[in-house]
């Protein structure tokens, strides 16, 4: 049988396509980028086949272009994400996400006795390893890995 390649999510004219999001973290990416609060057209597909991730998700956001520091926030939950910047149906730029040195907000500290879970304090973490994304809490100094992230 002939291998049939077809687009599973419609193309956009201008905007940003975020590909290679682990399917289980799609909604975390949506919440980190605040996509639930914007009003332009967004389409997404999830549980798509991916050789690398097993099952992946893709988001297409019309007319929105992200600053690097904004998009890098999703590296916590989608470290392999790839971005295509679209202008007039053409990919004009490709980007990958980079794990920043410090993470402010985004995730809670997993230590219930940490001050950030008991007082209105914005969480802050120092990235210990960019490869497997382990974070050290700036306040209680406990180290946590991705399974322990709770996105705010």
């Amino acid at each position: 049988m002939k291998d049939k390649k077809q687009l599973q999510v419609n193309a956009i004219k201008d905007g940003t396509v975020i590909d290679h999001i682990p399917a289980k973290n799609l909604f975390k990416v949506i919440s980190i980028l605040g996509l639930d609060k914007i009003e332009t057209l967004i389409t997404f597909g999830t549980n798509l086949e991916s050789k690398k991730l097993g099952s992946k998700a893709i988001i297409k956001i019309a007319d929105i272009f992200f600053r690097d520091e904004e998009i890098n926030k999703i590296s916590l939950v989608a470290p392999d994400a790839k971005l295509n910047i679209i202008k007039d149906y053409e990919v004009i730029e490709k980007k990958v996400v980079a794990v920043p040195d410090n993470i402010i907000g985004i995730t809670k500290c997993f230590n219930p006795k940490c001050i950030t879970n008991n007082e209105p304090v914005k969480t802050k973490f120092h990235v210990m390893s960019k490869k497997d994304v382990t974070l050290k809490c700036h306040y209680c100094e406990k180290v946590m890995d991705p399974e322990q992230f709770v996105i705010i």
Binding site: C109, K113, Y139, C140
Partner: protein, 304 residues
Amino acid sequence: MMYKSLVSISDYTKDEYLHILKLAAEFEKNPVQDILKDKVIASLFFEPSTRTRLSFESAINRLGGRVIGFSDSNSSSVTKGETLKDTIKIVSSYCDLIVMRHPLEGSAKYASEVATVPVVNAGDGANQHPTQTLLDMYSIMKTQGHLENLNIFMVGDLKYGRTVHSLLMAMSQFNATFYFISPPELKMPDEYKDHLNKLGLKFFEHRDFTEIIDKADIIYMTRVQKERFSDPIEYEKTKNAYVLRNIMLKNTKHNLRVLHPLPRVNEINVDVDDNEKAYYFTQALNGVFVRQAIIASILTLKSK
């Protein structure tokens, strides 16, 4: 020298540790001075810790400073629901320095960020207690004459004991060799062993220390708490392996000293107390000089 808070033992560099220890020696020679005469220091103990609080307050009083504050959160506005931020902001404007003990981890770091005066952490939950570490280092320095190349035995609860973790981090800058003696349930966590491996420092793990005790320069005892064991039978079986008795010190090095952050329960038998190698009571007294040194150094005051 520095006008900054002391929150975590990693806030200080090796030179800064040595500076504090040198200053502590000066205060030990001359502990009663009036260099804090015009200073008001807030002592905020959100959880009770009589020993630490009295040590700080004694240090401040001997230098002529005034202490304001509370010794447990029941007597503060915390009971009215005030946030730590508000308490610290207000107290900042009443004093020159804040000494703070708090049950939540990271509270001292946060306080140092909202305070307009320096904050000295007197213990934040299970996280950090840097003045204890500095007094442990002072005790090692005083009894050994230096801090370099020592064989340091850490005995008991190495998993949860914050004092051993902080002391390890500090002494790892002085080329120490570590011997970890603990039951398997309470072994030194991997992150600390990784730290030593990265620095290329040697460490050994044992379940029992009678065979190797003759190598020790410092034995740092900690309490093995029954609640740490999931199996009470395991506790009963192992508890006696971590009790130090006078007879065990028979063939040890002449410079060996036994330290303990106190309170002790039964992990050091009372028959050790009269041995010249028992140092834990003097260690507690050293805390006063070290705290004098820390406060004076943060407020950039010199010993006379």
